[in-house]
Amino acid sequence: MAEAMTVSDVKKHVRVYLIVFGSLLLLTLVTVAVSYFDMPLGPALAVALVIAMVKGSLVALYFMHLKGEKRVIMWVLAFAAAFLIGMFVLFIASLLDQEMVAVLLRVT
């Protein structure tokens, strides 16, 4: 976030914060309402994750000022994201591997 901000800049920011607040409340209602539809796990998970990602992005971009943040911060986050994705891939790959082993054991 730029250090040199005028009062009118900050006032504009405040308006944005309140709009983001309203959007987050609305999305919270949507995610709870959707959960009452009793969807199968796959689609339910997908919808919940998409809404959570939209909400999370709003918080990160506007409240945490990632929008317009310096490149070095983006690199730190990209680094963390790469490790996070790597960890999930390892976990899921090992799960799929176990399932494959189980299927093979059943066949033989």
Binding site: V7, Y17, T28, T31, S35, A44, G56, M64, F91, L95
Partner: protein, 214 residues
């Protein structure tokens, strides 16, 4: 002689940001891995479980087929709203300082702390209702990961309350000194504390649907 630490509020030429900001983002990156690891554990446990949540409901004593039959979605929704509101008041407290409005800062920071305490009270009710049914983290895998994830998050909320309470109370000395450099320093501290607080909100935004709703 006063020891001056460079780049505490002014950006470094090579990184383009001040050291405090880079520091908090490095810390938050490590936090991403901490919670990410537990999320991965949650997925692993859930995919490997024969039944989820794998326990009886408290009222009908039939096997629950969804997590929301044993957890309180209304209370968790209320807590989601509380935490989002506290994120807004936190960012408004920083904006108040940017507008040289100390009273506004005190008000919004005070609200942030109260909302955070409210979150913990609701959480205590939630935990209490589990304990009153004689179930806890040792009951089954579902409750085990539920208590670990929400408990670690609640610890983060508690840490945030302590830091924010310091900045609401004794920490304001820095602003009240009236020295422009100290005021800029204090505003920066609030922005950094805010980054942590928004992260705590962000974690809950993922925890809530994953544990309670899906």
């Amino acid at each position: 002689m006063e020891l001056l630490i460079p780049y505490e509020v002014t950006p470094r030429r090579d990184t383009g940001v001040n050291n405090a900001k880079l520091g908090i983002w490095l810390f938050l990156a490590s936090e991403v891995m901490l919670f990410g690891g537990l999320f991965a554990a949650y997925i692993f446990l859930r995919m490997g479980a024969d039944a989820w949540p794998g326990m009886e409901t408290f009222d009908t004593h039939e096997m629950a087929t969804r997590a929301d039959q044993v957890l309180s979605v209304p209370l968790a929704t209320l807590n989601t709203v509380i935490l989002i509101a506290s994120s807004v008041t936190m960012v408004l407290s920083w904006a108040s300082l940017k507008m040289d409005n100390f009273k506004g800062f005190r008000l919004h920071m005070g609200l942030t702390i109260l909302l955070a305490l409210g979150f913990l009270v609701v959480k205590a009710f939630e935990y209490g209702s589990k304990f009153s049914h004689h179930v806890g983290p040792d009951t089954n895998i579902f409750l085990g990961i539920y208590f670990v994830l929400t408990g670690l998050h609640a610890l983060h909320v508690t840490g945030g309350i302590i830091v924010n309470a310091y900045f609401w109370g004794p920490g304001t000395r820095m602003w009240l000194s009236g020295n422009e450099r100290d005021k800029a320093h204090f505003t920066n501290r609030i922005e950094i504390a805010g980054l942590y607080w928004h992260f705590v909100d962000l974690v809950w935004i993922f925890l809530f649907p994953m544990i309670y709703l899906v």
